[in-house]
Symmetry: C2
Subunit: 144 residues, 2 copies
DNA sequence: TTTTTTGTAATGTCAATAGTTACAATAAAA
DNA sequence: TTTTATTGTAACTATTGACATTACAAAAAA
């Protein structure tokens, strides 16, 4: 199963906020125009980013002033991922629920796999942690 | 989104085949008893492992003789993962389909994220590649 | 010929993603 | 004060995938 596109949408949103903060009024409608999805999807993702303390979202006609609450160097991709992807028990790999406790393999399959699979998950998360929004922005600045 | 439990079921199956090869008749029914899922699910996963060249599955009354076609040292967890999890375009991270090409961010979001996300995926896959079925079996042998 | 087991199809349930419409609450602007 | 723009949120639909179950023809040994 793939990791949902809401994660890349969130990165797109954060990148666009920083890129256009001085040029345009930043509303969910504006961002929806860049991502090309419905503005409700943008608003829901923005709420998750707000819960993670990354953005400030004024209401009402005040808006157009969505703001990053952290510097791009202070936002890493793992923070974004965790803000967006709600993993059951924080585990990337799902497990079959009822391995047979009367079977030597069924009884121990969690013991022998959990640590290994967690270390795989950690390898991925460490890689995400070492990438910052500022890295993404500096890549972008070379292309615009 | 989590990675489906079919992956851990596949590891359970392979472990059980090697563990019980001299003690029991290995049928999908027997394996279903250890995993505690329906035998059709076992059979479908076995077919995927067969396509990957990992197991041999005799039909009819001959059965009970499902066999590993490789040594446990020659089977790594990435091979199992790839045999079981069909990723679209081989990419772990899904992407929103239509970023706006008229927007500087929308136009470049693939360019600036694809390499990064692939390297994250690769970190995970490399970790899986370095774990062998024989490692899992030796952990198990300490517990039985 | 009988029996066992596989390969496969058909069907059902459940959860998640993704999209859409609608609207009360908010808060600035007129 | 009224108007207007925008958010937060609910309700609904469609589509997909995971997981489960029943059923049975095909295979192949007993």
């Amino acid at each position: 199963m793939q990791i949902s596109s809401r994660f890349t949408i969130a990165l797109h949103i954060l990148t666009a906020i920083e890129t256009f903060k001085d040029e345009y009024r930043l509303t969910s409608e504006f961002l929806a125009g860049s991502v090309q999805v419905n503005s409700v999807i943008i608003r829901n993702i923005l709420l998750q980013l707000k819960s993670a303390g990354m953005v400030q979202i004024p209401r009402g006609r005040a808006s157009g002033s969505i703001v990053l609450l952290k510097k791009p160097e202070e936002i890493n991709l793992l923070d974004v991922y965790k803000a967006i992807e709600p993993l059951e028990h924080d585990t990337l790999f799902a497990f079959h629920k009822n391995p047979n406790p009367k079977c030597p393999v069924g009884k121990n399959v969690h013991n022998i796999l959990d640590d290994r699979l967690l270390s795989v998950q950690k390898a991925m998360e460490d890689k995400l942690k070492n990438m910052k929004l500022s890295d993404v922005l500096s890549d972008l600045s070379k292309l615009i």
